[in-house]
Symmetry: C2
Subunit: 112 residues, 2 copies
């Protein structure tokens, strides 16, 4: 567990979430943890990777078995966020790109 | 310029690079800067986003007009890295996923 997701062979779906945190993010950490806990339980969840820089720039990529699973997660996540607090409160700017992963390769010193 | 790429409407291609830095990364910063400078000059380059966590986990997503442009960049990058120093020296583990972005949406407090 080094923060890099172990995934099946492509194809699968990636949801790339890039965001800049706003000044006011009270309650963010708890909510982010709760969202991850919720995501891993969703049908079609494959894994996720999340990196946050000291200056508040964040990229989280979640991986899903297909586009339908990603769309279902979007509905669940939005519902949950609406119940708590809008994503708009925590982020001054975010962009989400939903993509079909077509090929993948890598290198791991521990397994090569 | 808040670190989040401004991109055209989909479709386009995303190259998701997730990596964990190794202990020995002498020369990394200079090389990473040189690679970015090289990338932005490539045909079909649309933008990139890069986040690095204090613990050495990194996600960089580069965006390309199409798969061919992403493949061409791979060839150029590998050639350049081979000339300097292998990516294997800087990263204990990395995974690259090449994906076709099919839809995108977001929210920006400054423009909404």
């Amino acid at each position: 567990m080094d923060g890099i997701a172990t995934l099946p062979e492509p194809p699968y779906t990636a949801v790339i979430f890039t965001a800049r945190r706003s000044e006011k993010y009270q309650g963010y950490d708890e909510a982010a943890e709760a969202m991850v806990a919720l995501a891993v339980q969703q049908p079609g969840y494959l894994g996720h990777e999340s990196v946050e820089q000291a200056d508040g720039l964040e990229i989280t990529v979640s991986y899903w078995v297909n586009d339908e699973a990603a769309r279902n997660w979007k509905k669940v996540a939005e519902h949950r966020e609406a119940q708590r607090r809008g994503r708009e409160d925590w982020y001054s700017h975010y962009e989400i790109r939903v993509a079909r992963v077509e090929r993948a390769y890598g290198h791991n010193q521990d397994t090569s």
